[in-house]
């Protein structure tokens, strides 16, 4: 069986995989990283979203071996020791999570968006999370949270 060697949330990992395993299966079942969820397994819902080398991907549609030699970030790797990522704080402050099931995927999509576009408009944000479904919030507070995190980032940079 092939050996997958990659970095996950800053740590080097080596794990034996089946050739057909998705990255989602490997993260959840072999590494017990549970933030990416099994919402649909067909790339429709976005709950499995993770970052590979900074790019947001559907881990359910990503072959595990394609992450070989790359860096994967999940929600578990967002915070630094003792400090939440601004997006996590913003989601919590703005009530952007109700049942919470879509939240991990949303955070990843939001991070990818802000890394690429630090001052997005509300339209940019809606576009950036358009591949992530939420049934609870109506998206309003999720957009509020992402804008708030972007504002917080830029005001910190200015000071």
């Amino acid at each position: 069986m092939p050996m997958l060697e990659f970095k996950v949330n800053g740590r080097n990992c080596r794990v034996e995989v089946n050739g057909a395993d998705s990255l989602l299966e490997v993260l959840r079942e072999k590494l017990h990283i549970t933030s990416p969820k099994v919402g649909c397994n067909t790339g429709d819902c976005g709950t499995c979203s993770v970052l590979i080398d900074g790019k947001v991907v559907r881990s359910c549609l990503t072959n595990a071996m394609s992450a070989n030699g790359k860096e994967v970030i999940t929600v578990e790797g967002l915070a630094s020791p003792g400090k939440l990522h601004p997006l996590q704080t913003a989601f919590h402050d703005n009530y952007a999570a109700q049942c919470g099931f879509c939240t991990s995927g949303m955070l990843m999509a939001a991070k990818a968006l802000l890394d690429k576009n630090p001052k997005p408009t509300r339209e940019d944000v809606k576009e950036g999370i358009s591949g992530n479904l939420c049934r609870c919030t109506g998206y309003v507070k999720i957009v509020d949270a992402i804008i708030s995190a972007a504002d917080e980032n830029s005001s910190r940079e200015e000071s």
Partner: protein, 456 residues
């Protein structure tokens, strides 16, 4: 009144767990040795299972157990206790007939393919309007109409409907169809049953009501006295802990963290199957529905055919409303009786109508069962009543705001079900919307209020 904590925009109690991915949903619980479940689903909508051969499936390496209706001690649960957990009598296409527990999902799927089932197919009916007709194929032995206290429809009678129509200057009719909606929670159905060392069974469940599912699962697992049903050495330990007269004593439901519900996570089917397989194998058993199973086979909002006939005065007062509504239940009723009740009770919408007559039907068909969904029976009636209001306004050449303000409930009015309304604010809500939307309402309407009693 001002409060210190109540009324404050406090951050969500478990919000921190959500944003750090610490929240553990049922599928996030990993226990070594957990078996995975896949089911054989009926390819036909109606029929009788005459033969099931699981020997080839059981012989596969990695398959721990296969159960059928023969292994369910009490194979009929629910508000109407006829929902078969594993079907002997098939009532809808996709109904589970056999369940496999295996080391992984792929093995379980391959085992399902080896199960041989013979079904004597019978004629099915899919359209509730056809199912209501005499001579229609029977979905269930008792007939296709659900009985409401012995009558084949729920009836609401308030005032005198015929007198109301005679009094009316104009009749406005409308026929509406409200379709089937899927809850589409981001989390699909999952159930994890874990036999504990002391003989107790822990079920990690997505149920919207833990106590209710506990009662339903205990009812399904009820063990007939002296009848050793379970096939493993756990059985003796289980029998020592469980009291046959109180099977619930042996079960502990753990839950409360769900990835969305909206009324779609009331079905005890998964918890019953994983419980049985866990007791049979002595190992933890998980059944996670795929998104396809969720969309195809989970309960959904049942569709409604509704006919409204309103008697209206030229000055805009609605004096009579007659409604005939038909809800498609699918194969089992689940909470359908309550859905129809709630619909019938409040077909007048937020308006005072002195003469009301409603008949609400719940009709069985050979489709996946429908059940609760956010809004219950009032979602379709809100749609119909509010489009009716605009049709009435149009017929009278009246402003849609005015027709609503005039007929809106006031404090002290009674519903058609004769409940006193002691806290009414529908006019105030409309005023708030108008103000926020920049709509200037005429003084005549601004002088009206739901907070005060009706002016006679």
């Amino acid at each position: 009144m001002e409060y210190r904590v109540v009324g404050q925009r406090k951050r969500r109690y478990d919000g921190m767990k959500h944003v750090t991915a610490e929240t553990r949903y049922v599928d996030d619980i990993f226990i070594p040795g957990t078996l995975q479940v896949k089911v054989y689903r009926s390819p036909v909508a109606k029929g009788k299972v005459v033969k099931i051969d699981c020997t080839s499936a059981l012989a596969m390496e990695g398959v721990a157990a296969v159960i059928t209706y023969k292994d369910v001690p009490n194979n009929g649960v629910g508000f109407v206790p006829d929902q078969q957990i594993l079907a002997e009598e098939v009532r809808y296409k996709g109904q589970p007939i056999a369940a496999v527990a295996a080391v992984d999902e792929d093995t379980a799927l391959k085992a399902v393919e080896r199960i041989q089932v013979e079904i004597e197919e019978e004629e099915a009916v899919f359209d509730p309007l056809e199912a209501m007709k005499p001579g229609a194929p029977k979905v269930r032995p008792e007939g296709n109409l659900h009985m409401f206290d012995g009558r084949p429809y729920r009836k609401v009678v308030y005032g005198d409907i015929e007198a109301g129509f005679r009094e009316a200057d104009l009749i406005v009719e409308g026929e509406y169809f409200h379709p089937c909606h899927e809850h589409a929670c981001l989390e699909t159905h999952v159930s994890l049953s874990v036999p504990e060392a002391n003989g107790k069974l822990t079920i990690y469940s997505v149920a919207q009501g833990l106590m209710r599912n506990l009662r339903l699962v205990a009812s399904a697992l009820e063990m007939p006295e002296g009848d050793l049903r379970f096939l493993s050495n756990w059985s003796e330990r289980v029998r020592n802990t469980w009291k046959p007269e109180n099977p619930a004593s042996g079960i502990n439901f753990v839950g409360g963290v769900i990835g969305g519900g909206f009324g779609g996570k009331n079905d005890p089917q998964l918890d019953c199957v994983t419980a049985l397989l866990a007791l049979t194998t002595g190992q933890p058993v998980k059944w996670r529905w795929t998104r396809e199973e969720e969309t195809l086979y989970s309960t959904y909002r049942g569709p409604w055919h509704m006919k409204f006939k309103d008697g209206v005065k030229n000055d805009g007062r609605i004096v009579a409303r007659k409604v005939t509504s038909i809800r498609d239940s699918g194969a089992y009723s689940h909470l359908g009786e309550y859905v129809v009740d709630k619909h019938c009770f409040l077909c007048s919408g937020p308006y005072y109508i002195p003469n009301v007559y409603v008949e609400g039907y719940l009709v069985y068909t050979n489709k996946v069962p429908s059940d609760a969904m956010r809004g219950f029976g009032i979602t379709p009636s809100s749609f119909a009543t509010e489009v009716q209001m605009n049709k009435i306004a149009h017929a009278l050449n009246m402003d849609p705001w005015k027709i609503r303000f005039m007929n809106a409930y006031r404090k002290g009015d009674k519903t058609p079900t004769r409940v006193n309304l002691d806290s009414v604010s529908v006019i105030e809500c409309m005023k708030a919307v108008a103000e926020s939307a920049g709509v200037a309402l005429p003084d005549e309407l601004m002088a009206m209020s739901s907070l005060k009693g009706r002016e006679l």
